[in-house]
Symmetry: C2
Subunit: 120 residues, 2 copies
Amino acid sequence: MKILNLNAAFSALADPTRRAILARLATGEATVMELAEPFEMTQPAISQHLKVLEDAGLIVRRVDGTKRPRRLANAGIDAMDQWLAMLRKALEKNYDRLDEVLAGMEQKKAQKKIKTGEKR
Amino acid sequence: MKILNLNAAFSALADPTRRAILARLATGEATVMELAEPFEMTQPAISQHLKVLEDAGLIVRRVDGTKRPRRLANAGIDAMDQWLAMLRKALEKNYDRLDEVLAGMEQKKAQKKIKTGEKR
DNA sequence: TATCTTCATAACCTATAACTTATATAAGTA
DNA sequence: TACTTATATAAGTTATAGGTTATGAAGATA
């Protein structure tokens, strides 16, 4: 479930249409029609994107007559934040050690020819 | 290019194998064989995952004889962090206003029947 | 030199993502 | 009641993601 959430959350954000929808929702609640308006896609396409975002815990739905306004939720964002924090911490740690590590490698490889610059 | 990076970065993290690879790299540099070892996949599959991660700016490659050790990079993470920060800020702002907004809505809809609890 | 190791790449297969059109449902309106 | 609006869902299509096997290339080693 944790894993499923991360899969869903990250893959939800991988689509530019869905990021645009979230950016719009960052300015406040909006209905499906309002969300669909800026796009060239059909309304069902937007509804499907919204389902993906909802399943990922990134938005929630409210009922207002025939309308279903969406707004941002934080479950999905929290999950991603946690994971990215792990990576960032590792990067910082590795950066702290980078100088000594590189120094050690240079020394170790000093006798061997170091081929650099692969083509691809 | 910014957009492409975000697409690539988020969709790279959407795959659990790739997240596991990054988690492993968070403990330090590793070769392709070392990265492949814990998985049931073939080596080419891992190489392809590594290409995805590299294209997303999440890892970099070093040359050491026939080996190509990978380590974490921060370009991709920075891009995602920025984007998520926007969402988080919006969530906080909306949360600040939530009480008044909800109050306003309740008042506005007071006369109308509010049907709650959709089935699906 | 011949062989082994490490890795990348190409070609192929299959499941799924992201659309479409068609249609259903529920609430608002005349 | 009949019509319209707002939305969801199903079914079909096409591109792509993620795996496989086969193979190649470059460096290490005997």
